[in-house]
């Protein structure tokens, strides 16, 4: 297993230099760190060179890069969960209308293209897609609340 301190250092370097992907390898191991966009929490893929299948781990927000999404992460409770982060600035709506059921709620399965909420900005309602596969474990933001770029909206257990 790769040294967690080394990993933290790599993540820090990536955030500082606004790198999207970092791939480091030697005889023993290979580490790929990817960030879907600069504000998002890095996804870390660690490939021991002997084992073929590679695990995609999502580090909890608080443990890796400090981000505005840390408001949604309580550390250990979110271990293994991936945030769906807000790609814009606006007002969060969990359902398509006042009397309509929410797009997703706790327990809902999601795929990358599942619409999970609306964010209104400049009178335009923008559909936000999950971007990951798994199950919604927690809804972080209340409907009608203001959200900023990079803020965690939902926590998803990947699967």
């Amino acid at each position: 297993m790769i040294d967690i301190r080394k990993l933290k250092e790599l993540v820090r370097l990536m955030v500082e230099n606004d790198l999207v992907e970092l791939d480091i390898r030697d005889e023993q191991e290979q580490v790929t760190v990817k960030r879907p966009n600069s504000a998002a929490v890095p996804l870390i893929a660690h490939h021991p060179m002997v084992h073929a299948p590679h695990a995609v781990l999502a580090a909890p927000a608080a443990a890796t890069a400090p981000s505005p999404s840390s408001a949604g992460g309580s550390g250990s409770a979110d271990a293994g969960l991936v945030p769906i982060e807000c790609p814009m600035v606006g007002t969060f709506y969990q359902s398509p209308g006042p009397d309509k059921p929410p797009f997703v709620s706790v327990g809902s399965p999601v795929g990358p293209d599942t619409v999970v909420c609306l964010v209104e900005a400049m009178k335009i309602f923008n559909e936000i897609k999950a971007g990951v596969s798994g199950t919604v474990e927690r809804v972080v933001v209340k409907s009608g609340e203001a959200v900023e770029f990079g803020q965690a909206l939902f926590m998803v257990r990947p699967g």
Partner: protein
């Protein structure tokens, strides 16, 4: 008056606007990119909204996100600072469409003064001195001679298709001009297959002279005198001062008043700067108008006592300028040094990274406009200016002495800054005697 101002900028100018807003009892919202998450200025704002990743095009230049941030925080005005969207007429128009007051000119006034042709046309009407020259290529040598006599020698003959110094000749009298045109045409024809040339006024030793102006929405416009910004490197100002040393009072009064007349004619609200070049005979030639607050506005504030940023905000809120031209006077001399995180010994290499040591100068007449402090990590994504050190003294000599003392007391590390360069510059004979021009710093650095 506004309830809440959103600041669409970062760093020291964001902090400057926050301070002005607080003095006026207005709430503040700062937008920021993820690279500026730990920006110390954000602590001074009432609210902050992250609007995107580090590249400016995805954050500080995103009009939609900035407007959305104003909407969710119920900001009723936006101050654009300088750079980024500050001179973007489309942004000013979007603000207006969204019923958010843009703190600056109307999109119409901004477009008119921002466009060189329109601006020059208006300037000719208001008697603001512009750059003379021929408008098109010259066919006949006699025609070129006539124009040259009209605009005055020396002139420069340039190839219409030119570039890289080829086809260019400087002429100091008529015989040089006749000879120069022939050579220039021959060279231009050989180099570009096109022998067309034109004639323009040539300024050998120009100084950068700019006039600070303020206007309101009630037809008033005043000037706050001038600044000299001749110490430049690669068109970036290093040192600015006010007043401009050694300028004839009558010529100074005329050019300053012509700048105020120009922005009055443009129905301009807010702060604008008319930039001129000044030749050795102290003739002025307008370069352009900056339709925003300038980096170097503090030197003007120091000599006039006028708070330019607060006045911009009040004018945008519909107030009348709180003073007339007669009520504005200048006192003493002010100098500003831009402190950049660059290593002057290594080709001005930018110095992103952690500031471990930061000990700032203080004392009477010393002002530091900076967002930095010990523990601040300078992100690599934006410009390298980490502060502006401004001093005010009774005379120019007193101000230079004070600046030297303040620069010596300013300790920043381990990153390198332009402080040692400024110290040497303050002792440069051409700076001390004000015998400088806009190229003197580059000539000096080459040695």
């Amino acid at each position: 008056m506004f309830k809440r101002i959103l600041i669409a900028n970062r760093g020291e100018i964001a902090l400057r606007v926050i301070r002005a807003a607080k003095e006026l009892g207005i709430g503040t919202v700062c937008v920021y990119s993820t690279a500026d998450r730990d920006g110390p200025w954000l602590e001074h704002a009432d609210q902050k909204v992250c609007i995107g990743p580090p590249p400016a095009k995805d954050s500080y230049l995103r009009i939609d996100r900035i407007i959305a941030a104003a909407e969710i925080t119920h900001a009723d005005a936006i101050h654009p600072g300088y750079g980024f969207l500050s001179e973007n007429a489309h942004f000013a128009e979007v603000c207006r469409d969204c019923h958010i007051q843009f703190i600056g000119p109307s999109p119409e006034a901004m477009s008119q003064l921002g466009d060189k042709v329109n601006c020059k046309r208006l300037a000719k009407r208001t008697g603001t001195p512009v750059f003379p020259g021929t408008d098109g290529a010259i066919e006949e040598v006699d025609e070129a001679v006539r124009v040259a006599h009209e605009i005055g020698f020396p002139v420069i003959v340039k190839a219409s298709a030119g570039g890289g110094g080829r086809g260019m000749r400087i002429a100091r009298d008529e015989s040089q001009l006749r000879e120069g045109i022939e050579t220039a045409q021959r060279e231009a024809l050989a180099a570009f297959g096109n022998g067309a040339v034109y004639v323009e006024k040539f300024l050998e030793h120009a100084r950068h002279f700019e006039v600070q102006t303020l206007g309101d929405n009630h037809g008033n416009a005043v000037h706050l005198f001038e600044r000299d910004c001749s110490s430049q490197r690669r068109h970036q100002k290093l040192v600015e001062e006010a007043p401009a040393p050694g300028v004839d009072p009558e010529k100074r009064r005329r050019v300053c008043e012509s700048a105020a007349a120009l922005i009055r004619a443009a129905k301009y609200c807010g702060a604008a700067t008319c930039e001129f070049l000044m030749d050795r005979e102290q003739n002025f030639y307008m370069l352009e108008v900056n339709t925003r607050v300038q980096v170097e506005h503090p030197v003007t504030e120091m000599i006039t006592g006028v708070d330019i940023v607060k006045t911009m905000i009040r004018a945008a809120a519909g107030e009348t300028l709180p003073f007339t031209q007669d009520e504005i006077s200048a006192k003493g001399h002010a100098i500003e040094c831009r402190i950049n995180a660059e290593d002057p010994d290594r080709g001005f290499m930018p110095q992103a990274g952690l500031i471990e040591r930061w000990s700032a100068p203080s004392g009477p007449g010393i002002r530091l406009d900076s967002h930095a402090r010990a523990g601040y990590r300078i992100p690599p994504n934006y410009d390298s200016m980490i502060g502006k050190l401004i001093v005010h003294g009774a005379s120019r000599d007193a101000a230079i002495a004070k600046m030297k003392d303040a620069l010596k007391a300013f300790e920043i590390g381990p990153i390198k800054t332009t402080i040692p360069l400024h110290l040497k510059l303050m002792d440069h004979p051409d700076f001390r005697n004000a015998t400088f021009d806009i190229h003197f710093v580059e000539r000096w650095l080459k040695k």
